[in-house]
């Protein structure tokens, strides 16, 4: 890597985590929530998304490339930290460590999830309510999905907090405390949406 590129890569990593990856996560969770209104509502919503024009370009530029960069650079960031919560048990230090742990869990989860749904679809499987109901019928997979979804939401909510700091939007301690509460709220709301959708499939 060329010298002094790190600033660019880090800021890009922070930006892409929110736009578009974070926004995609929110949109995905909202679409999933249609499952609570029954199979038909979910299938319609999923088909609407599938029917978007230029779908492959949207997927590549809004999801795959940003996600891939965020994931690969994120692994590098996670493994350059030396966590020390046992010595410094402060709230933010815990968030720091959880951000890295949930990042790795989310990566494993998403890799599996993409394999099971999007790649399966490329081989001819149909992504619909029944497919998800089949997957989530296994208690093990259900727990895996709950953990994966919660990790992804935590990583997004807490990442939003650090995004605000990293770009110099929240500077004062008070603004950082307020954004802590706001992002906790985001975590709770999205978690309810995500879990409700998962439960709807069983």
């Amino acid at each position: 890597m060329a010298r002094n590129q790190e600033f660019l890569w880090r800021r890009l990593h922070s930006l892409l985590g929110v736009i578009p990856v974070g926004l995609f996560l929110v949109q995905h969770l909202v679409i999933n929530h249609f499952a609570t209104q029954g199979p038909e509502a979910f299938n319609n919503a999923a088909h609407f998304m599938e029917g978007l024009p230029f779908r492959i370009f949207l997927e590549v530029f809004v999801i795959y490339l940003p996600l891939l960069f965020h994931a690969i650079y994120g692994i590098y960031i996670a493994f350059t930290a030396k966590n020390n919560t046992s010595r410094y048990g402060y709230f933010r230090n815990w968030m720091f460590m959880l951000q890295r742990i949930t990042g790795i869990i989310t990566l494993v989860f998403i890799a599996w999830h993409v394999w099971e749904t999007r790649i399966a679809a490329a081989f001819g499987a149909e992504v619909n309510f029944n497919m998800m109901a089949d997957i989530l019928a296994s208690p093990f997979m259900f727990i895996f999905y709950v953990v994966g979804v919660l990790s992804a939401i935590f990583h997004f909510a807490n990442g939003l907090w650090s995004f605000l700091v990293s770009w110099g939007i929240t500077v004062s301690p008070r603004s950082q405390v307020i954004s802590t509460y706001v992002t906790i709220g985001i975590f709770v709301v999205l978690s309810v949406i995500g879990i409700r959708a998962l439960v709807a499939f069983i």
């Binding site: 002094n4 790190e6 350059t80 930290a81 933010r92 968030m95 720091f96 990293s166 500077v171």
Partner: protein, 253 residues
């Protein structure tokens, strides 16, 4: 009972920069108002360990003895701090002393903090006013701002914030919170401000500002109460603007 009260110390020792560390225990007679340094001086006077064996005195760094130079920093009962102000009465026993391993250990509790001074040079933590003729008095600084800047200027390069930071370690080349906050200090000075962009660009280099992962341990640990994370966030804002200027160009110097 009070006469033969003792204090127990477990010291992590290391004979040379490359040799393996080991622990040695010391039991000292208690004296009133003892601090960690006076205890280490006691060991130096009578270098006998808890087993009664004669040993080499423990080596450590110190200078001011009043928490303004930062030289005597070490890890005391798990937390990095200055040993000259660590009162034995306020510490749980046995008192464990370790070197700040974020830095290369020279011997026992003595570490080499050169990297911090190199970082200060790298970020140009000074105000360049030397020249061939007298430039006259600089712009005045408002009193309120002076008082605010004074807090940032209290940094004694002790290294506690680097020791506490999970992102300062052998796997990363992050310069750590202290030199970053110094950039904010010198950029806030009315004369120092003239070289603002230079300092911002220095911390936008590899191992610079963006390595901060917001664990915020530094601000919790700094013995001088320096608002390190506020400085870092403020610099994030300044570098965001600087990055735009660098990329798109600007007609402001």
């Amino acid at each position: 009972m009070a006469e033969n009260k003792t204090v127990r110390f477990i010291v992590t020792r290391q004979d040379t920069p490359d040799s393996a560390p080991y622990e040695e225990e010391f039991v000292l007679p208690y004296r009133q108002n003892m601090n960690v340094i006076s205890a280490l001086m006691e060991i130096r006077r009578n270098p006998v360990n808890a087993k009664g064996e004669e040993t080499v005195p423990v080596s450590w760094d110190m200078n001011c003895l009043e928490e303004v130079c930062g030289a005597c920093s070490m890890v005391i009962n798990g937390k990095p701090r200055q040993s000259c102000t660590a009162l034995v009465d306020k510490l749980e026993q046995p008192i464990r002393l370790e070197p700040m391993k974020t830095f290369p250990v020279i011997r026992d509790l003595q570490v080499d903090r050169s990297r911090m001074f190199d970082s200060l040079k790298r970020v140009k933590a000074w105000i360049p006013i030397d020249g061939t003729y007298d430039l006259g008095p600089g712009p005045r600084m408002p009193e309120r701002k002076r008082q605010w800047a004074y807090e940032l200027s209290k940094c004694m390069t002790c290294g506690v914030c680097l020791e506490a930071c999970p992102n300062v370690n052998s796997k990363s080349d992050f310069i750590g919170p202290a030199p970053l906050s110094q950039v904010r200090l010198f950029n806030a000075h009315p004369t120092g401000e003239m070289n603002k962009a230079e300092r911002l660009e220095a911390i936008m280099g590899d191992g610079g500002l963006t390595n901060c992962g917001n664990s915020q341990n530094c601000v919790q640990s700094c013995p001088k109460g320096i608002p390190l994370t506020t400085s870092i966030a403020a610099l994030n804002r300044d570098t965001s603007i600087q990055a735009f200027k660098n990329f798109f160009g600007s007609d402001q110097v």
